[in-house]
């Protein structure tokens, strides 16, 4: 289903205009609303909203003795199950000229731990695993079942220090460094970065910038399953954002990201089917895969740009919130994409909220995408039949039910639980069910 750009923009203009009217009205909330919300660190301001349940002594209020202590601030966990069905020409699990199966099942546990060190330091540790059971989506299964089940793991730590700005009163600065590793079968990744946030006008505005470096090293597994050497790629990303509090009930953010990649950017085990014209000799039934498929080939460099806008509006009389988001992406592979998203939150009771969401993504595909290539093409020519890089339109619907038990139980440290479901459908024959359960605990 094709979505014209004009139609897309006209729909967003309508929604954007309505949101500006809501934000500009500045509906002031009732002052007797109960303050029963979870603590939100690094939210609209750069300091946590204090939990009134902890204020029992002068020492705890003034945080005397906390200068050299470590404290667990929060723990979170999530487990997701993703079921994918689809067909793509890069998959060898099917006819020689494709498309082959992209069926897979992913089990994804994730977790995070936030440690507070003294008064100003914070360490966020996030880990994730992906356990993939694939019904032959890639070439390796043509010769071995080694990757029929694939495990990947990642740990990333972000350490940050917050202080009051020396020049701007009532505003804060945050400096951070990130470091981590990703491991996946033969794949190794090393991650490092640093970031900076500055509050302005008593933290009503926040500007942020970060730089991130990623180094990937992997076995160059070929389309016939052979593994001859090791390849690598480097990625540098620079991001900037501006977040603005518009009123006591609305907030917006504008962000830009630039990513530069160099090295072996293709998946060495992906392939492109060869189309044999009438009159050309077809490979025999015993032919090797190189006789009827080309290896995927990308340019050695890639420059990627993305601009994203987000807006959130709370409606106190109905205890609802509305989020709007839009992202524009472009790179020098010729790919342009538009992504628009809307999310609506509604409190059913003070400790349960329901979220509904819809996201539309449309992309035009990279310049060198082809479902099949003719016989006799230069092996060095850029080519891919990866369905993820094809032109398509994707629709995503989601729902989430969250339970804020700290608003219900006497203990202010009761957990938050949620269950979320997402349905994702791409116009080029791929669809996903994604179910996840989440848990969060403040200390």
């Amino acid at each position: 289903m094709a979505i014209s750009y004009a139609s897309f923009v006209s729909q967003l203009s309508w929604i954007g205009g309505l949101s500006i009217i809501l934000g500009g009205a500045a509906i002031e909330p009732e002052s007797n609303e109960p303050e029963s919300k979870q603590t939100a660190t690094f939210a609209s301001g750069l300091v946590p909203v204090p939990d009134s349940g902890e204020r029992s002594s002068d020492e705890s209020i003034l945080e005397i003795g906390r200068e050299k202590t470590w404290k667990i601030e929060s723990v979170s966990a999530r487990v997701g199950v993703l079921i994918q069905e689809g067909r793509g020409y890069q998959s060898q699990a099917g006819p020689r000229e494709g498309p082959g199966s992209e069926k897979l099942l992913v089990f994804q546990p994730l977790g995070s731990l936030t440690l507070r060190q003294g008064l100003n330091w914070r360490h966020d540790i996030q880990w994730a695993m992906d356990i993939v059971t694939a019904a032959s989506p890639d070439a390796i299964d043509a010769t071995t079942s080694a990757s029929r089940e694939n495990e990947a793991g990642e740990v990333v730590v972000t350490s940050s220090v917050q202080r009051e700005s020396p020049l701007l009163s009532q505003s804060h600065q945050v400096w951070s460094v990130s470091y981590g590793v990703h491991f996946e079968e033969h794949w190794r990744t090393f991650i490092a970065g640093m970031g900076f946030k500055q509050g302005l006008f008593a933290d009503n505005s926040t500007i942020a910038a970060n730089i991130l470096g990623i180094y990937d090293s992997f076995d160059a597994v070929r389309i016939d399953g052979n593994n001859n050497d090791r390849k690598d790629r480097g990625t540098i990303a620079v991001n900037g954002s501006w977040t603005q509090i518009l009123s006591s009930i609305s907030i917006a953010s504008l962000a830009y990201g630039f990513t530069y990649q160099t090295g072996t950017l293709e998946n060495t085990w992906n392939s492109v089917p060869i189309h044999f014209s009438p009159g050309q000799t077809m490979p025999s039934a015993t032919a090797t895969v190189k006789q009827y498929r080309y290896p995927e080939r990308f340019p050695d460099q890639r420059k990627r740009h993305a601009v994203a806008f987000q807006f959130a509006q709370h409606i106190p009389p109905t205890r609802s919130s509305l989020h709007l988001g839009y992202r524009f992406y472009r790179d020098d592979f010729g790919l342009s994409a538009h992504s628009g998203e809307i999310k609506a939150y509604q409190y059913l009771v003070p400790w349960i909220y329901l979220r509904g969401s819809y996201r539309l993504h449309t992309q035009n595909g990279v310049d060198f995408f082809a479902a099949r290539m003719p016989n006799g093409v230069d092996p060095a020519q850029a080519k891919t039949s990866d369905s993820d890089l094809a032109p398509f339109v994707a629709h995503e619907w989601g729902a989430k039910l969250a339970f804020l038990l700290s608003d219900l139980l006497p203990s202010r440290r009761a957990p938050q639980l949620d269950v979320a479901y997402t349905r994702y459908i791409r116009s080029n024959h791929l669809h996903i069910h994604f179910l996840s359960l989440g848990y969060g605990q403040l200390f």
């Binding site: 203009s13 303050e35 979170s76």
Partner: protein
């Protein structure tokens, strides 16, 4: 025309409505879990992972647009 109207109304609305600073004592609604722009961090990570490995377009969220996995995206 529609394109210009959309961006003009957006930027103009943000500029006009940003003139009055909101003190810390009046930000209780902004701290609500339903008002966090990035959402739950682990949920956001899971969504970014499966969208990023099924679409050729990432970025604009403070992370790198590619790298870190065998997905070529």
């Amino acid at each position: 025309m529609l394109h210009s109207m959309f961006w003009g109304s957006l930027i103009g609305g943000l500029t006009i409505s940003a003139c009055t600073p909101v003190p810390q004592s009046r930000r209780q609604y902004l701290a609500d879990p339903t008002m966090q722009l990035g959402g739950n961090p682990l949920e956001a990570r899971a969504l970014r992972k499966y969208r990023g490995t099924r679409e050729g377009a990432n970025g604009g969220d403070g992370k790198a647009a590619g790298g870190g996995c065998g997905c070529a995206n």
